[in-house]
C-alpha cells in the first residue's frame, strides 16, 4: 500500500512540473477562428527638414495581432529593413528604428516602414502608434508627424 502511494507521489512530482512548464500561450487560442494577414504602412512627415533617424513603437490597442515581418521604407535611405527586436515577432508590440548618415535623405511625407501582421478574428484592430524620436542629419530632434495606413496599397 505504502509503495503504491509513494509510486503515485513520484509520478505526480514528475508530471506536475512538466505540465507547469508548458507556456501559457500554447494553451491560449484565438477567440475566433478566422486568421488573415494585412500590412500596415507607417508614414513620417518631417516637413521641409531631411529625415536622418527615427524610432517609433506600434502596438494593438484592441484586437489580437501578431507581427510576422518588417519591411523597409520607400526612400533609398531607409529601404533596408530597420532595427527591431526579434522577440516582437509573433507578438503584438514592436519598436522600430533606423538611421542614415548619408546626404541623400527624404523630405516631407515618406513611408518609413511596412509591418506585416497576422490578425486573429474578425474585429479590425485599433493601433497605437508612438513616435519616440525623429532627427535630422545633425541629430537634432524634429517635430515630425507619424501616421499609418492599412491595406495592400503602399
Amino acid at each position: 500500500m505504502k509503495a503504491r502511494v509513494i509510486g503515485v507521489f513520484v509520478a505526480l512530482s514528475v508530471v506536475a512540473p512538466l505540465l507547469a512548464g508548458v507556456p501559457a500561450r500554447i494553451a491560449k487560442k484565438p477567440a475566433e477562428g478566422r486568421v488573415r494577414f494585412a500590412p500596415v504602412h507607417i508614414y513620417l512627415d518631417s516637413s521641409d527638414k531631411p529625415l536622418a533617424a527615427y524610432q517609433f513603437e506600434l502596438k494593438a490597442r484592441t484586437g489580437q495581432i501578431k507581427i510576422v515581418g518588417v519591411e523597409g521604407g520607400a526612400h533609398p535611405a531607409f529601404q533596408e529593413a530597420p532595427y527591431y527586436d526579434p522577440a516582437a515577432l509573433m507578438n503584438g508590440r514592436i519598436i522600430i528604428a533606423a538611421f542614415n548618415t548619408g546626404s541623400d535623405l527624404p523630405h516631407g511625407r515618406t513611408r518609413i516602414a511596412t509591418i506585416h501582421l497576422q490578425i486573429l478574428g474578425d474585429a479590425e484592430p485599433q493601433y497605437e502608434l508612438k513616435l519616440v524620436v525623429a532627427a535630422d542629419a545633425e541629430g537634432e530632434n524634429l517635430a515630425a508627424k507619424l501616421t499609418l495606413e492599412t491595406g495592400e496599397q503602399k
Binding site: P17, P23, Q55, Y83, F99
Partner: protein, 212 residues
C-alpha cells in the same frame, strides 16, 4: 455409528509407567541450558533478524529523500522564472548605461546615429590609437569601436521590455548575437592573420561571458 467405527473409541493412550520413564531417559536433554548461553543465543538472533528491518527503514528514507529531490529539481528546472534556466548577468541599467552614447539618460536610435557619425568622421579604426571616450563605447569588447558597436546600440534601443523577453535574460545578449551576425558579414573588420570566424567566435564567447 457402526460397530466398525466404535472400535476406535476405546483406544485411549494408556502408557505404562515404565515405557514413560524409558522415553524420558531417551529424549530428555542431558542437562539444562545455562541462562547465559540462552541469552547470548537470543541476542545474536535478534541482531541478525534486525538487520533486514534496518535496511527496509533506510530504503524508505532514501525513497522519501529521492521524491523530495525530484520535486525540488522539477520545480527548479521547469519553472520558467528559474534562475538556473535563465541565469542573470549584469544589470540592465548598467548595460544600457554604456549604450547611452549621448548621455541623455535613455538609449534610443540617436545614440547609434551619433556613434555611427563619430566613426565616419574619425575614419578607419587605428589599432594603435586608444581614445579614452572610445574605450567606453567598445560595447562588444573586441578592442575597437566600429559598426558592430553601432549595431549593438541600435538593437539596445529597440529592445522590448521583460514582459516579452522573460526575466533573467542576460541584458543585450540578443543584441550581441545579432550584432555578431553583422560582424561576420563585414570581412574588412577581421585583423590580418586572424580568420573572421575566429574573431566572431571569440567576441561571441566574450559577450556571453560578460554581457555588454
Amino acid at each position: 455409528m457402526t460397530e466398525h467405527n466404535r472400535q476406535f473409541d476405546d483406544l485411549e493412550p494408556h502408557v505404562s509407567d515404565r515405557l514413560g520413564k524409558d522415553l524420558r531417559d531417551l529424549f530428555e536433554p542431558p542437562g539444562a541450558v545455562p541462562a547465559r548461553i540462552d541469552r547470548a543465543i537470543l541476542d545474536q538472533a535478534s541482531r541478525r533478524l534486525a538487520k533486514p528491518r534496518r535496511l527496509i527503514l533506510r530504503l524508505r528514507w532514501a525513497a522519501k529523500i529521492a521524491v523530495a529531490a525530484v520535486i525540488v529539481l522539477g520545480v527548479v528546472l521547469f519553472n520558467p522564472k528559474s534562475e538556473i534556466r535563465n541565469p542573470k548577468s549584469i544589470g540592465p541599467a548598467l548595460a544600457e548605461g554604456r549604450a547611452d552614447i549621448d548621455g541623455n539618460g535613455r538609449v534610443d536610435i540617436l545614440d547609434a546615429f551619433r556613434l555611427a557619425r563619430h566613426i565616419e568622421a574619425r575614419g578607419p579604426a587605428d589599432p594603435t590609437r586608444s581614445d579614452a571616450a572610445e574605450l567606453g563605447w567598445d560595447l562588444n569588447g573586441d578592442g575597437r569601436v566600429d559598426q558592430g558597436d553601432v549595431d549593438l546600440v541600435a538593437f539596445a534601443a529597440v529592445r522590448l521590455g521583460s514582459d516579452l523577453r522573460g526575466e533573467g535574460v542576460p541584458p543585450l545578449r540578443r543584441e550581441a548575437i545579432l550584432a555578431l551576425l553583422f560582424l561576420r558579414r563585414d570581412v574588412s573588420l577581421a585583423p590580418e592573420g586572424q580568420g573572421q570566424d575566429a574573431l566572431a567566435t571569440n567576441a561571441f564567447a566574450d559577450i556571453l561571458d560578460t554581457g555588454v
